[in-house]
């Protein structure tokens, strides 16, 4: 006979209990409770014929694939076990009990009475297995458990590991540093990260991995778990894993994709690389006479820019246009965008006229270039200068006539009052 029990608790008795059980009898109870529970069994009464190693009568308790206990007799001896006060806990949600009596009983034995209950399993405490445990946080509830992740992570569809969204990392600077997520802390599991370096056509990207990397690997199989793959135009590099750095990789292209895959296990630190971009070199440039270039480098390559400026008192002359600075850029074909301009001495040009005034040049040739000087004066004695200044102006380094007294402003010539050229008769107070 087989009895199936699916309630969360119940009672099990030997045949005819509390009377003596019959000879030649065999009964099986199959107890099943929901997943997330296990079964606790304990005896209120136990009285079976005792025999060596329970060869005659016995109660055998089994889980799905193992015998948990075989009981007989009334009390435990050296060779036989009786349950006593001991509770028996199933490892899973199933427990099977088999009662058997042989063809004869020497005495009257009353059999057994037992109870079972379903008890909750705390998976968070028990699931230490890497394949089952929650990656970040575990939450137990009656009949089950669930996992959750730290801020910034997403629970993977396996409901256990925590991944990150990292498929859209774009780098457009000419140099930079790229690392696995959370580096130098262990990188997230179950993630596929994509890092793109996209630069203008004409640049060549070089990757330089740090000397040590830590990507989960296998001693015999090439990168079966986690790995880095690099796509650079038609070229592919990798997969890389383990602790040996890929070192320096010249990609020979301006567009690189770095793919990093991690599976659902492992605690590895990850990787870090720096990238730089170089282009075709341009010829060295010489500063113009009375000028300089900035920055001054031993080598200039694509996109490098040089600003040409002139010494004080000189202006950059490009074509017909004067300016303070001029910028040229190294092009992808290794040529400069423009020729280096010349530096021309600043010229204030003809000074502004002063109404009722004169301009006197201090140089014989009426120079108007840097550091040349002029003097404004008024038509004496009919006009006077206002404000009362020397009227001396010097051509400054920006090509502007400037006086120490008025800056770039001009004085004015105001009429002199009350002073006739022909003197009036003197006045004597009476």
């Amino acid at each position: 006979d087989a009895v199936d029990l699916t309630d969360m608790f119940g009672e099990i008795q030997s045949p005819n209990f509390p009377d003596s059980y019959p000879s030649d009898s065999e009964v099986t109870w199959n107890i099943s409770v929901p997943d997330g529970f296990r079964i606790k069994l304990y005896f209120m009464h136990f009285d079976l014929e005792s025999s060596y190693l329970c060869e005659y009568d016995y109660l055998k308790i089994e889980a799905e694939d193992q015998v948990l206990a075989t009981f007989c007799g009334r009390e435990t001896t050296d060779t036989e076990q009786a349950p006593g006060q001991q509770a028996i806990l199933s490892p899973g949600s199933y427990m099977g009990l088999t009662f058997r009596s042989d063809f004869s009983n020497e005495e009257r034995f009353t059999g057994f009475e037992a109870h079972y209950t379903a008890v909750d399993v705390d998976e968070c405490l028990e699931k230490s297995d890497e394949e089952l445990a929650c990656d970040h946080y575990c939450h137990n509830y009656i009949g089950g458990y669930y996992c959750s992740c730290r801020f910034g992570y997403i629970l993977h569809s396996d409901n256990r590991t925590c991944k990150v969204e990292c498929s859209d990392n774009l780098f457009t600077q000419r140099s930079g540093v790229i690392t696995s997520a959370d580096f130098p802390n262990p990188y997230p599991k179950s993630s596929d990260c994509l890092y793109r370096v996209e630069l203008e056509d004409g640049f060549f990207i070089t990757l330089q991995f740090e000397d040590s990397i830590d990507i989960e690997d296998h001693p015999e199989v090439s990168c079966p778990y986690d790995y880095i793959k690099i796509k650079a135009g038609p070229l592919e590099f990798g997969p890389f894993c383990g602790e040996k750095s890929p070192g320096r990789i010249e990609t020979q292209t301006n567009s690189v994709q770095i793919l990093f895959h991690s599976d659902n296990s492992g605690e590895n630190q990850g990787w870090k690389l720096s990238y730089t971009a170089t282009g075709n070199s341009c010829p060295l440039v010489q500063p113009p006479i009375n000028g300089k270039i900035d920055p001054l480098q031993a080598r200039y390559s694509f996109k490098d820019q040089v600003v040409i400026s002139c010494n004080p008192g000189y202006k950059v002359l490009k074509g017909d246009v004067e300016s303070d600075t001029f910028q040229i850029e190294c092009l992808k074909d290794g040529t400069w965008s423009n020729k280096v301009p010349i530096c021309k001495m600043a010229d204030c040009r003809a000074p502004a006229e002063l109404e009722h005034g004169f301009i006197t040049f201090t140089s014989r040739s009426n120079l108007t270039t840097y550091r040349s000087a002029i003097r404004y004066s008024c038509q004496h004695p009919y006009y006077r200068m206002a404000p009362n200044v020397t009227g001396l102006y010097t051509c400054d380094e920006n090509g502007v006539w400037r006086s120490e007294e008025l800056g770039t402003k001009l004085p004015s010539c105001r009429p002199v009052c009350g002073r006739p050229v022909r003197p009036l008769p003197g006045i004597i107070k009476r």
Partner: protein, 271 residues
Amino acid sequence: IIGGRNAEPGSFPWQALIVVEDTSRVPNDKWFGSGALLSDSWVLTAAHVLRSQRRDNTVIPVSKEHVTVYLGLHDVRRKTAAVNRTVEKIVLHAGFDIQNYNHDIALVKLREGVAMGPYVMPVCLPQFERELEGPHPNTLGLVAGWGISNPNITVDEIISSGMRTLSDILQYVKLPVVPHAECKESYESRSGNYSVTENMFCAGYYEGGKDTCLGDSGGAFVIQDPGTQRWVAQGLVSWGGPEECGSKQVYGVYTKVSNYVDWVEEHVGAS
């Protein structure tokens, strides 16, 4: 100018001849006065020179179209040698009283500025504290003009002579400032209704003989500042009694410019 002397060219470079000729309503309605150049485009004069000659108490200027200003002029017969300017704006003092000539002061803005030179230069306005006090009694000043120089001639005779009785050459005279109380008493003791206000001062000699006269109105009574040696316009020829110019015990009355410096600057600008 009565009892004066011929001025030398350039002695009074601020002296302006203001000619008003309005024949639109009255034939031959023409008169003139003097003014003093303050800057390249402003001339100071007396309000009554530029007031419309209508017979009422209104104080409105003549049309600026009818005014011509001559500068650098010495001999009125040679006006072509002088600088002449038309007028852009006339400003009469709003308080000018045609009954007693109080606030007899006006400004003329020239349509085009004049360049300075030996015969054209501005006169100074009272500026320093001692100048702003006004002319002190007994101080001598000079006043110039092309007005009547013969005291024995009447206005009718002037008109009938076609103004030939006026002085062709700019005349000037040296006159002392008369104590205000003395002048005020002199006029107010007469039968006429004269009023010498605090905006006027008198100048002249008790015994007469030297004076300003018709046609000299608006000209500057200038006093030399002892500190700066600059000539400062302290008065404007304004009015006198009905007696002949230069008569004994008759003083010329002048607008006291120092009372109007702020008014001038308000219209002309502080520069």
